[in-house]
């Protein structure tokens, strides 16, 4: 049977992608960001997942205001990196895993989560920046990826509680898939940042680090945090962090298994307007 082997959490700041694509990773400003991912790149090579289930949000790229799905699972064979207005990122196309994605969609919908199913979607920096951070600049991404898009653009995003429970349903869906695949689930976005209005540039290190602590040790309690706390304490765009609870909900300990091992933890301010947080948890 398939199993979730680990979860990865990371910010997906577009300027990080731009820095990689422009060859600026060695500049002092960016070195401090990328140094936090040296361990992770090697770890991912050693782990060799068969599939990555990647939770991200679209930033008015594939979804305009014409269609705003709260949860959308990609079941396509492949996804093209999007032109977000600066031209498409020069990164490999993303190969999907339609068979596992379709299985997860059917299982999760029967488990009371009403997903939107997407068979055609360009993917923006929300999906490709985490891959770049974890894989560098390969000719092809190391394995198939199932994109899972969450609406955090138009308020309200789904609650942290809903995301955490959805993660549990995704964990059950993966565990019921017959092929013995090693699946990683990634939660992306955050950490504290605000991109709009006179309060733009807000960063809350203390809150971010408490979020990381609780994500590791008390995801159940953390999942009950209301939206307003994210907005107030971590900025209007900090609400992206609810997506991390989907990945956390899929881990074994939530379903009664052993506690995960913290393989890596990193925090840095700033990348452009944003606090960068990163965590790797391995199932035991």
């Amino acid at each position: 049977m398939a199993r979730v082997t680990a979860s990865v959490y990371t910010s997906h700041v577009p300027a990080i992608g731009a820095a990689i694509d422009a060859g600026k990773t060695g500049e002092p400003y960016w070195q401090k960001v990328f140094a936090g991912y040296d361990f992770s790149k090697q770890w991912l090579k050693d782990e060799k997942p068969d599939v990555i289930f990647l939770v991200f949000n679209d930033h008015a790229t594939a979804f305009s205001l014409d269609l705003i799905p709260t949860f959308a699972i990609g079941t396509a064979a492949e996804y093209t990196p999007a032109d977000e207005g600066w031209g498409p990122r020069p990164v490999p196309k993303v190969i999907g895993h339609p068979k596992l994605a379709a299985h997860i969609a059917q299982s999760v919908i029967q488990d009371d989560f009403d997903l939107t199913i997407v068979n055609k979607m360009d993917v923006d920096h929300g999906l490709t920046v985490p891959l770049s951070l974890m894989c560098g600049q390969p000719q092809a991404w190391p394995c198939p990826v199932i994109p899972f898009a969450v609406n955090v653009v138009q308020y309200p995003a789904p609650s942290g509680r809903r995301c955490y429970m959805l993660g549990q349903a995704i964990g059950r869906a993966i565990a019921s898939y017959e092929e013995p695949l090693k699946v990683q689930i990634w939660g992306t976005g955050g950490m504290s940042h605000q991109l709009q209005g006179p309060r733009a540039g807000l960063i809350n290190k203390e809150w971010d680090n408490a979020f990381l602590d609780r994500l590791i040790a008390d995801p159940e309690g953390l999942s009950k945090m209301p939206h307003i706390d994210y907005v107030r304490e971590a900025g209007s765009e900090g609400i992206e962090l609810v997506m991390w609870l989907i990945a956390r909900g899929a881990m074994s300990d939530v379903a009664g298994g052993a506690k995960p091992t913290v393989k890596h933890r990193f925090y840095h301010v700033p990348a452009s307007n944003t606090a960068v947080g990163h965590l790797i948890l391995e199932n035991n």
Binding site: A60, L65, Y155, P198, A200, R232, E233, E237, S272
Partner: protein, 129 residues
Amino acid sequence: MSLDKPYKDVPGTTIFDAEMSRLGYHLNQFCMSLMKADNRARFKANERAYLDEWPMTEEQKQAVLDRDLNRCISLGGNIYFLAKIGATDGKSFQQMAGSMTGMSEEEYRNMMIGGGRSIEGNRSLGEKK
């Protein structure tokens, strides 16, 4: 019962909720059209004429022409959509975000390098002295 909107008292912040989305639908869809290179070229060639193709309010059109992002947001614009205007102008996200704060580009960049805007005094209108 009316909707609970506790985020109304967060200073310097407009939450893009269903109400704002309704007000800003055409403004944001105009921004979305700038994802296509030929639309960007047409917009740059004659901004006013391009904006007049959209059923936006005059206030919204003027806010776009002025590149007044705070005004755009107050009229229903969302920053991820408005970012397409910045991309058309060749501006980075940091330049766009900074332009809304009343700080110079350099001041804003230095604030971020220094750890960002502090949360203290910025949680709610009541807290702000």
